[in-house]
Symmetry: C3
Subunit: 113 residues, 3 copies
């Protein structure tokens, strides 16, 4: 079965499509606050889903990491405004220090085509 990889770098692909599912790499966003970063991060998710031929209404799962557990409410406010209320994913969210200290939030998403 075909595997299609989008935005291939030497370390990872930003999206991997196989058997009707797109797996996105962990996405982060730019900005000074967790709210700004979440908004930018989710715009990147939207862009990669579109490039894969799908959209957030077909999202299956999301793994969310926040660098500070105290930022969850601010992240969720942006998330709740973004997510399709008819089609929310199975989600888990934990605290985790991210690989670059400037990043406050990261998400890894799968979606159906």
């Amino acid at each position: 079965m075909t595997i299609t990889r989008l935005e291939k770098g030497p370390r990872m692909s930003q999206a991997v499509i196989h058997n009707g599912i797109v797996h996105l790499a962990g996405q982060v966003g730019e900005g000074a606050t967790v709210a700004a970063q979440t908004k930018d991060m989710l715009a990147r998710v939207d862009r990669l889903l579109a490039a894969s031929g799908t959209d957030k209404s077909k999202i299956l799962t999301a793994l969310v990491w926040v660098a500070n557990a105290g930022d969850v409410a601010a992240m969720n406010a942006v998330w709740d405004a973004w997510v399709d209320p008819e089609n929310p994913p199975a989600r888990a969210c934990t605290e985790a220090r991210l690989v670059a200290p400037k990043y406050l939030v990261e998400v890894m998403v799968t979606a159906a085509l």
Copy 2:
């Protein structure tokens, strides 16, 4: 291909079924100890798998987070008594602070229908 979402909230679904696989949201449990929380958490997993038309004998993967790495043995004791010994999943377990401080353990599961 159809996507079925169970227990939809404004932020996430507790289960998302697609292409013969159910993806559960991160599950936590109530209780004063990690053992009690693990038992309650796995009962929630059982309940969601049943609602999805499957059970733990068809579990594929589990991501486990414990708030304190020192709690792994106590969590594992409950896990080992729960898991189908003929059908254990691919599992990873790391330490992670969870989004509400009272929670000591969380799991995200996928299973085949």
Copy 3:
């Protein structure tokens, strides 16, 4: 649909194969440094993928945890030399304390058959 489980233990399987995809359990490696552990860990991934009938050219996703965010560059150097540059996975990497303090890095992989 058939589920095949490799290296079944009482707690988890090291690989679970279902519907054309293999899900590996979290893999760690032995060694005194994060570089040595990453090399050993990825050799275990190669071995489990081979036992499942596939290889790293068909890798779909990778979740990487490093015990110390400062070790990411050393882990990535080994990763970049290992990954198939034509076929890199969707990957996320966060910091997480692992269940045994001696382990500095862990990875959970999925691959197509």
